[in-house]
């Protein structure tokens, strides 16, 4: 399987002090969080002072890092090899708390109190669709501003449309500049209904309509909220814009994470194109859970054919107890093992029968373990298992090649599949190894 895409070399990326932010994006269920955590761990053990920011509501990072307490501030992860001078911190985004912090920080106490108590605000900050993305970017900006870490690794929210977090700053900006906000603020600013006089007929019809739809008191809540937030809006937009520019800066590297499946790679394609359109620096694609085989030269077709041949053979000699058949079988073995070390006194024959060399007499007897299978059946099972594996390997290869032909310039690191899930540092370390390896070595 020839595949000429450039290799994504993870270690130089992690070691480069110029790399300040790594953003892991990708569709849900492809191992983004695990990748982010594994990168953080590897970077820390290679001497970086790294912090991993995860936004996932399921406490998965906590699980995979063996942490039980993960709040809105970065916590130092224990059990890291810090001999290279690095450290690892991890945190999980708490949307409401992040939002509250911004309010407290940017409004005077009285106004902050009004905002925090506003029912509209309370619902908004608890994290309806969209808030998560805004707050993730806000937190990223905060972490960067604190400058306590020389590498920030961000795991992105499992957004409905994958790059919502990129749109967040812009959308916030265009919303804040919108007439609607001004309309909402107008009456509150002018001290209630009197303000309406200054609005033209069209606008008053609008507020009338809004009142009808949402109910006057809700509109009032919204207006109070918007008015209270007014002073903060400028700062909001400024920071959102700054974060957006930060993402475009040379110190940032985007990693698109995917699994070698059609849907995940289609999403990955979309990410790659979107990032290019936004001038965001893409470092490469991390392809998780790639299956390999140590016997990749044996194709699924051949393995299946061989399995069938063996099963036929086993069927022809249904656990024969007839000594005569043994000698026949012995004669049919065309490639006898010639090294005594492999078969000291007893030689296993196909079918689980054993020849006792000392007596030279072929004796058919069941192996002592009742669960023992005849070697043909066992080999046939192994071959069938292999055939299944090879089908997966070939399918994944096809999917991956399709991506590679559309995006030939995107460097790729493949991470060999692990049989189980990762939920400890040891597992993360292993993933980091595989990431750095870039090419999955056969299991």
């Amino acid at each position: 399987m020839s595949w000429q895409t450039p290799l994504l070399d993870i270690d130089p990326l992690l070691d480069d002090r110029g790399t300040r932010i790594i953003v892991c994006c990708g569709s849900g269920g492809v191992g983004k969080t695990t990748t982010a955590a594994a990168l953080g761990l590897r970077a820390a053990e290679r001497g970086r002072t790294a912090v991993v920011l995860t936004i996932d509501p399921a406490r998965r990072l906590a699980q995979s890092m063996g942490l039980t307490e993960l709040d809105n501030t970065p916590r130092r992860v224990e059990g890291i090899d810090e001999s290279a001078g690095g450290q690892l911190h991890a945190m999980m985004l708490d949307m409401k708390r992040t939002f509250d912090e911004i309010v407290v920080q940017h409004a005077d106490p009285e106004r902050a109190q009004a905002i925090l108590e506003n029912p509209f605000y309370q619902s908004l900050s608890a994290g309806f669709a969209g808030t998560q993305e805004y707050m993730a970017m806000e937190k990223l900006g905060q972490l960067r501003a604190r400058d306590e870490w020389d590498l920030i690794i961000v795991d992105t929210p499992p957004s409905r449309s994958a790059l919502d977090f990129l749109d967040a700053p812009k959308r916030l900006g265009s919303f804040l500049d919108g007439k609607f906000i001004k309309l909402l603020m107008a009456p509150a600013k002018a001290g209630g209904r009197a303000g309406m006089m200054f609005l033209n007929v069209g606008l008053s019809m609008m507020t009338g309509a809004l009142n009808k739809v949402v109910g006057a008191h809700l509109l009032r809540d919204v207006q109070t909220f918007v008015a209270a937030m007014d002073t903060m809006f400028g700062g909001f937009r400024k920071r959102a814009d700054a974060t957006y520019r930060l993402l475009q800066a040379p110190g940032t590297a985007f990693l698109v994470v995917a699994a070698p499946e059609r849907d995940a790679l289609r999403e990955a394609s979309y990410f790659v194109e979107r990032l290019a359109a936004e001038d965001m620096p893409l470092a490469g694609l991390v392809l998780n859970r790639v299956h390999t085989s140590g016997a990749a030269r044996l194709t699924a077709e051949r393995a299946l054919a061989a399995a069938e041949a063996l099963e036929d053979l086993a069927a022809e000699w249904p656990d024969a107890v007839d000594p005569a058949s043994n000698s026949l079988m012995n004669a049919e073995v065309d490639d006898p093992v010639d090294e005594a070390a492999d078969c000291p006194a007893v030689e296993n024959l196909p079918g689980g029968r054993i020849v006792d060399r000392d007596t030279g007499k072929a004796e058919a007897k069941a192996l002592s373990d009742p669960g023992e299978l005849p070697a043909e059946s066992l080999a046939a099972s192994l071959l069938r298992l292999h055939a299944e594996r090879m089908q997966v390997v070939v399918r994944e290869g096809r999917t991956r090649d399709r991506f590679a032909s559309v995006h030939p310039d995107v460097p790729v690191a493949e991470v060999a599949a692990l049989p189980g899930d990762v939920h400890d540092l040891e597992g993360l370390r292993a993933v980091g190894e595989r990431l750095a390896n870039g090419q999955p070595t056969a299991a």
């Binding site: 269920g29 399921a58 699980q63 029912p119 509209f120 619902s123 908004l124 309806f128 969209g130 409905r160 449309s161 959308r171 916030l172 919303f175 919108g178 609607f180 906000i181 609008m206 739809v213 949402v214 109910g215 008191h217 809700l218 919204v222 059609r262 849907d263 995940a264 140590g294 016997a295 044996l298 061989a306 399995a307 053979l313 049919e332 073995v333 065309d334 490639d335 006898p336 093992v337 492999d342 078969c343 030689e347 296993n348 024959l349 196909p350 373990d369 669960g371 023992e372 070697a375 043909e376 066992l378 046939a380 192994l382 298992l385 292999h386 049989p419 189980g420 899930d421 939920h423 299991a443």
Partner: protein
Amino acid sequence: MSAQHSAAPSVSASPTPTRLHIVTGKGGTGKTTVAAALALALADEGKRTLLVEVEGRGGIAQLFESEALPYEERKIAVAPGGGDVHALAIDPELALLDYLDMFYKLGRAGRALKKLGAIDFATTIAPGLRDVLLTGKACEAVRRKGASGGRAYDAVVMDAPPTGRITRFLNVNDEVAGLARFGPIHNQAQAVMRVLKSAETAVHLVTLLEEMPVQETVDGVAELRAAGLPVGAVVVNMLRPAVLDEAAVRIATGTAERGHRTAVAKALSQAGLGGARRGGHAERLVEPLLEQAREHAERVALERRERAEIEGLDLPTYELELQGDGIEVGGLYRLANSLREQGIAGVQREGGR
């Protein structure tokens, strides 16, 4: 295995048929596929189902190999036995205008709102309004009457947001009813909540036999139950074929330790895969093959643990096999068939009589 399986097909015992099926699951578990297969499975015997997409990813159109869905209900597939599957991709912005038009006759004013950015506001930043519209539209389809006076759809299947967000998504109307304490929005929100919490609704959770998806399913079920939302079934998706049964796996892995490699090498050689002597092709296959068997054994053990975990939820459980080359239309029908064979339409049918 499943409560719905064991439900005797007696008319007297028939519970209220589920008419709104909400399909959630961790990302990557294939909930869109399962939702589509479910809509097909429920559309048998001349029934009409509506498949609703709320996340705007176009997954349904891709599954049925049709062009992107517009914001309108259109027939997307015919089920075996003559039923119809319709599909709708809800666009929150259009849904809002639709909604305003329907309830408040705000034709021109609605467009003016759009110009002002109010629609942007409503669908991107206003708390939950987007989710209100999505759930509201689905509930409207559930309650809608057809031309003949019967229900417009026998069942509505929603490809819903992932498990991590599902409870909040469905509960948004409670929240909104609290914000808008009276008035049309309040009433609408409450009406939607009544449908969602009724016996007509079931939230199904799609999972894989892997740790994290199962953990999320268990957490999701607890959250849904705590919120008083009706939990339906667990669908175990992408089940890998059982190439080796557990006994064979045990033996295969045990074999390595017992040093029977020689016999295996010989058998492989017999099957024409090269020489069995040390360094021969067949001999060199033994170790990688046994390694794969060990990995398989590990996976089988893990799947058994996860299955036990799912059984602990005490919910009807359905299993769908992995469709090798990704899902195409044929695979979708196979999955639908499998769901039907496992009796997922059972309650539906009993109720329909």
